[in-house]
């Protein structure tokens, strides 16, 4: 159904993801601005607020990087670079329309493996500068991973189970008639939660939160900070985008071509996440841990059971 896209898409992919990340960050900045300073008076002011993340990125480009005593620069740098790299590699199996840069037979496992790389990378970022606060941030994200990773794996396994394939293209093809979100609502909700947690953003921003002076990113400045925080936006875009082929029917939809539906659905999911961030407090991990293991794991297992029974009786 979905064959491999031409080679040029490999070059386009990081650019497209970065563009989506900039737009998402801009939307978030507009919402933050109207929450903190009141609604924008004019279109120009709203536009200025929307390009604030870009201005910040340019500022970081020329900012002096920070050096700390006895830092492990190799591991720290590796962690910083791994975050966006893992996000883009995970994005390689994202179908744009009905085709993706690469559609391996185990695309869903590949996606999960790349997320795990990003997870380890944040600990490296926290470890690198030889600073207590950033190390605390790194450890927080490891604990966070233990909380979200299991329900997350069960959620994506449920989608694969529904399509009887680990190939993302097959999962999209299986939703030609009925979207998976309709009969796997629990898995979809758990996936959205873990998408936020994976991007350590919003309610799951505890590893980078202010009570630890910025956590894992406490000692990052200049280009390092730009790459790391930009990588986090990329992760958010990719994880939110992956919910579209998994649960929202991928490129399927009336009238418009597949790629347009993918963009619309991805934008919808991202807008939902960015807007919902304002309604949710930042979660401490020991709290989410108990909820995840005692409520979400059994719920996702039940969801998988229901899907398995449906698939067996098909």
């Amino acid at each position: 159904m979905s064959d491999a896209a031409p080679l040029w898409t490999t070059v386009i992919l990081p650019v497209a993801l970065a563009l989506a990340a900039v737009v998402t960050a801009g939307f978030d900045a507009v919402l933050s601005g109207s929450a903190e300073r009141g609604p924008a008076g004019s279109v120009r002011e709203a536009g200025l607020r929307a390009v604030a993340p870009l201005r910040e990125a340019l500022r970081l480009l020329v900012q002096q990087p920070r050096r700390t005593t006895a830092a492990d620069r190799l591991l720290g740098r590796l962690g910083v670079v791994l975050v966006p790299v893992a996000a883009v590699l995970a994005g390689a199996v994202l179908p744009w329309g009905l085709r993706s840069v690469s559609d391996p037979s185990v695309g869903i496992v590949w996606f999960n493996a790349m997320e795990a790389l990003a997870w380890a990378a944040v600990w490296l970022v926290g470890w690198g500068p030889n600073s207590a606060l950033s190390l605390i941030g790194g450890y927080r994200f490891l604990a966070q991973g233990l909380a979200y990773e299991l329900p997350h794996m069960f959620a994506i396994t449920t989608a694969a189970l529904g399509a009887e394939s680990l190939r993302v293209g097959d999962v999209v093809a299986a939703q030609d008639g009925l979207w998976f979100v309709v009969w796997m609502p629990v898995a979809f909700l758990v996936y959205l939660l873990s998408a936020l947690a994976m991007a350590f953003w919003g309610p799951f921003g505890h590893p980078l939160s202010g009570d630890a002076a910025g956590g894992a990113a406490a000692e990052l400045a200049g280009v390092d900070r730009l790459v790391f925080l930009g990588g986090r936006w990329l992760l958010l875009v990719v994880t939110a985008g992956f919910s579209v082929p998994l649960f929202l029917g991928g490129g399927h939809g009336p009238l418009l071509p597949g790629w347009a539906w993918t963009v619309i659905k991805t934008a919808g999911v991202l807008a939902l996440l960015v807007a919902a961030r304002r309604a949710l407090p930042v979660l401490r991990m020991e709290r989410y841990m108990e909820v995840a293991w005692m409520v979400l794991v059994p719920l996702t297992l039940l969801q998988a059971l229901v899907v398995a029974v449906v698939v067996l009786n098909r």
């Binding site: 496992v109 997870w119 470890w127 020991e286 108990e290």
Partner: protein, 189 residues
């Protein structure tokens, strides 16, 4: 394509061995752990080259998670404070060198002397499926039992090792409504 495959094989193999050596050369627990992860990721790449897609990607996934957790334990269990000071991964260097040399010689001799069968028939369409069948096919019941036993062992070990049991949490008669925990979870129990 065959040449390309060979090049990838040798690059990954050399990288795997080199980072395996670095595990014992680094003086930092974190670096040693992540050198081991590099080595294992290269092994995952080699498995992918064999056409075992699922196993290769699962090795990448499991080893990343495993090493990220292991780094925490390695740093925690080091003798010096938090594993933050330089340390060495080797001890008993002479004895270890003799043992390693002997094991390497035996394994290499085994590889060179074993009568390897030549290929009969054609490569399988789905090597992962065939490997799984030949590994576990006739022993599925054993494997399932083994899995349950391992899991039960893990649970039992954690229960035995934990410092605070249910009597500490819910009182001597287990009647306390809210558990007496040092850190409250999210279920407000």
């Amino acid at each position: 394509m065959a040449v390309l495959g060979d090049v990838i094989f040798w690059v990954l193999a050399l990288l795997a061995v080199a980072s395996g050596v670095m595990v014992f050369r680094f003086d930092s627990m974190a670096r040693a752990t992540y050198a081991l992860l590099t080595s294992l990721l290269c092994v995952g790449g080699e498995v992918l080259l064999l056409g075992l897609d699922y196993l290769g990607v699962v090795i990448v996934l499991m080893m990343t998670i495993e090493m990220a957790i292991m780094a925490v334990f390695m740093v925690m269990y080091m003798m010096n404070p938090a594993g933050l000071m330089p340390m060495t991964m080797v001890h008993n260097t002479k004895g270890a060198a003799v043992i390693c040399g002997a094991v390497f010689a035996v394994l290499a001799a085994g590889i060179l002397l074993a009568p390897w069968p030549s290929r009969r028939g054609r490569p399988s369409h789905d090597p992962t499926m065939d490997l799984g069948l030949s590994l576990m096919g006739p022993q599925m019941l054993t494997m399932m039992t083994l899995g349950l036993t391992l899991f039960a062992t893990i649970v039992a070990t954690v229960v035995l090792a934990t410092r605070r049991g249910r009597y500490d949490r819910f009182g001597d008669d287990l009647r306390s409504r809210t558990a007496d925990d040092p850190v409250r979870g999210g279920m407000s129990r």
